[in-house]
Amino acid sequence: MSSPAQQSAGKPVAFVSAQALRARMHDAVNDPHLRQSFRGAMDFLMAKRAAQFPDQGELDSLRSLSESIRQYSLSKLPDLLEQLEANLTRNGVQVHWAETPEEANAIMLGIAQRHAARLIVKGKSMVSEEIEFNHAMEAAGVGALESDMGEYIVQLAGEKPSHIIMPAIHQTKQQIAKLFAEHIPGVDYTDNVDALIQIGRRVLREKFEVADIGLSGVNFAVAETGTLCLVENEGNGRMCTTVPKVHIAITGIEKVVEKLEHVAPLFSILTRSATGQAVSTYFNMISGPRRGEDKDGPEEVHLVLLDNGRSQAYADEQLRKTLQCIRCGACMNHCPVYTRIGGHAYGTTYPGPIGKIISPHMMGLEQTHLLPTASSLCGACGEVCPVKIPIPELLIRLRGEANSAPHANPAMVGQGAAYDPKISLLWKLWARLYARPATYRAFTWLATRFRALTPTQQSGWTAARTPLKPASRRLRDMVKDRR
């Protein structure tokens, strides 16, 4: 069985094989420029978030509430999706379902072709990155233009986002200045940030005006009212969902909540956790196309509901917790590994701790089994997660899924991908040694008495450290001597 991502491999900026993770990590940690810029950016974002939660009691209460709203919503997910569909349909929104990226792209291409669309302007949507939407449209002769400033920069550079909230966080203003001067006709080099943003504004406003279709993601979909909620600062999300005649929204099936009131705490904890803002500039609640007395807004609104591995995670009580995610990015901002390697090294659409636990469901463990191992399990991600996803626990679970011998009815595609009979045997021997006190005592006695024979090359440990050497006597020897 091949995963969707394998089927879509080989595209220009498609997923990079996870097998190359080590090489990418090596390159990243040895790039002082990258190290410095990510450290600075993450320090900035951590401080901003901390400033938003001066009251620990309020934070604890809001996190618990947000976790329980997400868990409640997931516990009723199929019902809520049907309720959402019914209410959106009643509001005049056309709802589509897609199991794979290919299906989602085909649905959206169909809509584009029906309208003879030449240009689609895009608001920020990680799901559209997940399905390689831009590439699918371009392959069919339809232009797909990113309009979020960060996404626009990344698209100009021919890259993928390195952070889910701040896509161009890896680029300096000098690099962006160069990019603009090279790619935008009539633009001279300037690294003045205000000037650069005004250039982007001018170029993209021309596109909003002429685009045939606007594409957006969804932050929360409200079942009881049939409402799509979007969080943004720039106004490009509003442009994409208001100006073109057709608006297509795409979202993962997990984003639905039952009641409108449920979005209030989630919205609050999202912006505060993500960028340390009390609130974003815009919170855009869309409940249908132009209708009745309305004088503007799109004439058609579509929603594409994407599975792409989410139902696999849903099927397992523990793995289901990955679907609580509201995509704030706080886990990557606080991750010591992400801080040192940046987003691109992961080779997946979603980097950082959350990427390590959701990508295996989207791409299969064959490609991604190394990701869950690239963590010291320090727990910083779980500590800041606004919906209390136990990320370290899930990383351990995925390590187990990857390491275990392939068996029938696995919980996920690619189970056993890292299975190595030799490694498994080593752990079995380890367990025998440590589960039998007498054998353990004999082993440690020998290891301490013959400590001079300890190998001085100790795998990754001695890559950067002096070798470990057992003490001359064990603690138990000392205890015995003293008694």
Binding site: R35, A374, C378, E383, K388, Y434, W461
Partner: protein, 274 residues
């Protein structure tokens, strides 16, 4: 019960001073840093506590558990469940091993209700050494050492699983002649992470090198930590840097909190007697 690593900041209630405790030394201390374990035992005994050292103890199972070999972890955990027949508290001189016992033993035993119940009963009376010294024994002895400045590294498990990140600070604050120098990014991981340091040496090295730089930047005379895993990671990285730079003496010596506390308060750490 869920680990506070994802936010259950429920403060722990502590028992009153017991007559005896079980001491669970951990495999790392047993074989690599026995003096830390011995000094911890001395500290406890000096406070009038009878210390029981179950001779059949081996390992808490953490290496297999975190590497994704839960069956192997369970086998080792099972072998530890008979070690503590009395109702005495269990004291562990390591945040990560204490966290393993406190939060994860019941998970690895989840498949067998009887086993799980035994694991839970043990988890409930397991304490990290520093929190036991502070909250149960009210450790407050006179500092007899000369004025010094030290820096403290608190392990991620102590910080996020045991919720004891302020305990080490408080114990040091009770030493009149000791100044604690805080380092930048204090809450950040040192990059050890057990098999992580072996499997991903590039990132682990980047993390520990940054940690060493931050700790050294405080100008402190030494590092104090309550976790031997972090301690070996940090000090042996620093030693390697010294070696590479041709420095003869250690630029960042470190010792376990137990050893440091014992020496400062008139005791004789076993390593000093050699």
């Amino acid at each position: 019960m869920s680990s506070p690593s994802h936010g259950a900041n429920t403060p722990r209630t502590y028992p009153s001073r017991p007559q005896a405790v079980y001491f669970y030394g951990t495999c790392l201390v047993d074989m690599f840093v026995p003096e830390a374990g011995m000094d911890a035992i001395t500290l406890l005994e000096r406070e009038g506590i009878r210390v029981i050292f179950p001779d059949n103890q081996t390992c808490c199972g953490q290496p297999a558990f975190t590497s994704g070999f839960p069956d192997e972890a369970r086998r080792v955990v099972e072998a530890q469940l008979d070690l503590f027949p009395g109702n005495h508290p269990i004291v562990v001189p390591s945040g990560s091993c204490a966290g393993m016992i406190r939060w994860h033993w019941e998970k690895v035993c989840a498949g067998d209700p009887a086993l799980k119940a035994r694991a839970e009963a043990i988890s409930a009376r397991t304490y990290e050494l520093a929190e036991f010294l502070l909250h149960v024994l009210g450790f407050n002895r006179k500092d007899e050492g000369p004025a010094t400045t030290v820096t403290l590294h608190t392990s991620c498990s102590a910080r996020r699983e045991m919720g004891t990140h302020l305990v080490g600070r408080e114990l040091l604050a009770r030493l009149g002649n000791v100044t604690l120098a805080h380092h930048d990014h204090e809450s950040e991981c040192c990059g050890f992470g057990g098999t992580f340091s072996l499997k991903h040496p590039d990132v682990s090295t980047a993390m520990v090198s940054d940690k060493v730089a931050s700790l050294k930047a405080t100008g402190a005379s030494q590092l104090v930590t309550a976790d031997c895993g972090c301690m070996l990671n940090i000090t042996q990285r620093a030693a390697r840097e010294d070696q590479d730079a041709g420095r003869a003496c250690a630029s960042l010596p470190g010792e376990h909190l137990a050893t440091f506390l014992l020496r400062r308060t008139g005791g004789s750490p076993c390593g000093d007697q050699k």
